[in-house]
């Protein structure tokens, strides 16, 4: 083997590593590096010129009741949104995957992705026009004469739920659709053939076989919903603080980068714990064993 061949051989052997290097570098530079910087900022003593002077004081400050309340609220809203999304998305995905004729599928899937063609902010703002005192719903109800005074809808918690469920629904439908579509139809036939009703078939075959989709969907909704700050501030009117809004507040308004960084790290850790717990709950709740065997 001459040098040229050796070099060629080296490139062929290590092609996987060579081609993935740009992506890995990108991750390093723009994800892990900033993350480390945030961790460092959360530990640095404010105003100190000494670079290695670190403290846990910021974290200690965060153990106050109000901060924990914000985190709990975010967890509850994110969990609620994820579960509501699951309940709304499952029938849609089921229908799309197992009932709709093949020639309609692509068109309907296209309709599902249509909201993403609109900017997120515009989507959220447009909800204000629907829910406002002189918005679409109130105007309609007043015109019909069902109500005498406009409903108070904007700036309520349930409005936040409504808008978030609306926005995150496709993130739940897509993974559910992709697993439900792969379920072999004869498995459902076999279940019915063995004496299971439609409902028993759904419970014992369809749901367990779509478990990976349920899991992915819940995480895809739960994680971003936890850090959501646009919807609470526009629809919720900034009345309630959420994790996302507080982080924005520290960095952009209060300019207290140390406390903001500490809060980011802390809520991030809690998010990881919640996601793992959610994952575990999925396994326990949905994977019902016919019989436990040792």
């Amino acid at each position: 083997m001459n040098i040229k061949e050796k070099i060629k051989y080296y490139f062929v052997e290590n092609s996987a590593f060579i081609f993935s290097t740009p992506a890995i570098m990108w991750q390093m530079l723009f994800l892990y590096m900033p993350l480390l910087i945030v961790v460092y900022m959360s530990l640095k003593i404010n105003g100190s010129s000494c670079w290695y002077a670190v403290t846990l004081a910021h974290y200690k400050a965060l153990l106050a009741y109000d901060y924990l309340k914000i985190i709990t609220r975010s967890v509850c809203v994110a969990f609620g949104v994820a579960v509501l999304c699951l309940l709304c998305a499952y029938p849609v995905a089921y229908y799309l995957a197992l009932r709709v004729p093949r020639r309609w599928k692509n068109f309907l899937l296209f309709l599902l992705t249509l909201p993403f063609w609109t900017n997120f902010l515009i989507q959220v703002y447009s909800w204000v026009f629907v829910l406002d005192h002189n918005g679409l719903i109130n105007t309609l109800l007043l015109k019909i004469g069902l109500i005498k005074e406009p409903f108070h809808m904007v700036n309520t918690t349930w409005a936040i739920f409504l808008v978030m469920v609306h926005y995150y629904l496709p993130f739940m439908i897509m993974p559910l659709y992709s697993v439900l579509e792969k379920i072999q139809h004869d498995l459902l036939e076999a279940s019915m053939d063995l004496g299971a009703t439609h409902w028993q078939t759904f419970k014992n075959v369809t749901v367990p076989l779509s478990l990976s989709g349920i899991r992915t969907g819940l995480l895809l909704v739960f994680v971003p919903a936890f850090g959501e700050f646009v919807v609470p501030s526009i629809i919720g009117g900034g009345k309630h603080m959420f994790v996302g809004s507080l982080v924005t507040h520290y960095f952009l308004v209060a300019r207290d980068e140390q406390l903001g960084a500490a809060f980011t790290i802390m809520s991030g850790c809690i998010l990881i714990i919640c996601a793992l717990a959610l994952n575990w709950v999925c396994t326990v709740v949905f994977q019902r064993r016919v019989r436990e065997h040792s």
Binding site: E189, M192, G195
Partner: protein, 363 residues
């Protein structure tokens, strides 16, 4: 133990008529094979029994019960699916226990029944294995166990051995026969493979391309006495001749164009078998004797030239060109290592058969 009766079944898919005015009775406790080419509607017929399809019109009875509109999960009928359809998220035990567990039967009774049935199908060593770790034959057994554990009135098998290799298939066929005679359940076996059907069935029905039942009978009746050229050609192989029937002084003869007159037996009870009628003659390749020198004691004789020879192991197939240009098949058992008379390409040979061994057919 109850029989299955189809009465005037009509069934179509997207405007294509699959079954038209089909009537059939499957006797109770038999191993019944539905044999037909692909697209003959035999699987549709099976799915109608299971309840996986609904009829357009007509009625299906199981014993005296009209099951035409009965929901699938209420029928005491279970199916072994073509690609097994085992639940991938359950192990062997849970798959087999499925039909019992959804009926809320006590766990210890379920366990007894499942272990017993797994022993019957020789899977007692693989009770807690996951489905993914099973071989094709084992999956087949699990599917079988799952379908019979709840003791159905009828077991439906939809080309169950299609995915197995030849040796395993032969073994499973024998096991199926044994299982059926132990359980005494009605087995309905759908296949396009005539070898499988002839092997397992004690009764069988032949379906043609138009979804019609051509003939119902025992395998021997169907093979030896087919009622149409379709059955004769589809079950086993045969040589079909078109000719004209001549009846002279009560003697029946068939005139084959370019070959001459040949004796056939008296055709009793066949109204179409009259003088000068145009008929078909089916001559099975194994019913013909082949020789290089003339022999005596046969009622019919033809001469021809060996065109090609196909060695099958237990037998040899000779393709013989006749005087009128037609090529027919002849099977000879390979009885000896060193036959006295070796037949080779281009040899001039004599073909003999007895008149009792041919079947005359109207169409």
């Amino acid at each position: 133990m109850r029989n299955i009766r189809f009465e005037n079944i009509m069934k179509s898919y997207n405007g294509d008529l699959i079954l038209e005015k089909l009537s059939l009775e499957i006797p109770s406790g038999t191993f019944f094979a539905l044999l037909g080419p692909s697209g003959s509607g035999k699987t549709t017929l099976l799915r109608l029994i299971a309840g996986l399809e609904t009829v357009d019109s007509g009625k299906i009875f199981l014993g005296n019960t009209d099951i035409t509109a009965m929901p699938i999960y209420q029928r005491r009928v279970n199916t072994v699916f073509q690609n097994y359809a085992l639940f991938p998220h359950m192990d062997v035990f849970d798959n087999v226990a499925y039909s019992l567990s959804i009926r809320n039967i006590a766990p210890d009774i379920i366990e007894d029944k499942v272990l017993k049935i797994l022993k019957t199908v020789h899977l007692e060593k693989h009770v807690y294995k996951s489905i993914q770790n099973l071989s094709g034959g084992q999956k087949q057994r699990v599917a079988l166990a799952r379908a019979i554990v709840n003791e159905p009135d009828v077991l439906l098998l939809d080309e169950p051995l299609a995915a197995l290799d030849l040796k395993l298939r032969e073994k499973m066929l024998l096991e199926l026969i044994e299982l059926q005679s132990t359980l005494q359940t009605t087995f309905v076996y759908v296949t396009h493979d005539q070898f499988e059907a002839l092997t397992v069935a004690d009764h069988m029905a032949i379906m043609n391309y138009d979804g019609e039942i051509e003939q119902v009978g025992t395998p021997k009746e169907i093979y030896e006495f087919p009622v149409s050229t379709f059955v004769a050609a589809f079950v086993g192989s045969t040589n079909l001749f078109k000719g004209t029937l001549h009846i002279v002084d009560g003697l029946y003869k068939i005139e084959l164009p370019g070959l001459g007159l040949f004796e056939v037996t008296e055709q009793k009870g066949k109204s179409w078998a009259c003088d000068k009628a145009s008929v078909f003659m089916s001559l099975r390749p194994e019913k013909v004797e082949i020789a290089k020198t003339p022999m005596s004691g046969f009622s019919n004789m033809l001469e021809g030239v060996v065109q090609s020879i196909v060695y099958h192991g237990r037998s040899t197939q000779y393709n013989i060109a006749l005087q009128n240009g037609m090529v027919i098949q002849v099977f000879e058992q390979n009885e000896e290592h060193f036959p006295q008379e070796v037949i080779d390409y281009d040899d001039h040979v004599f073909l003999y058969w007895q008149k009792e061994n041919v079947v005359l057919l109207e169409k």
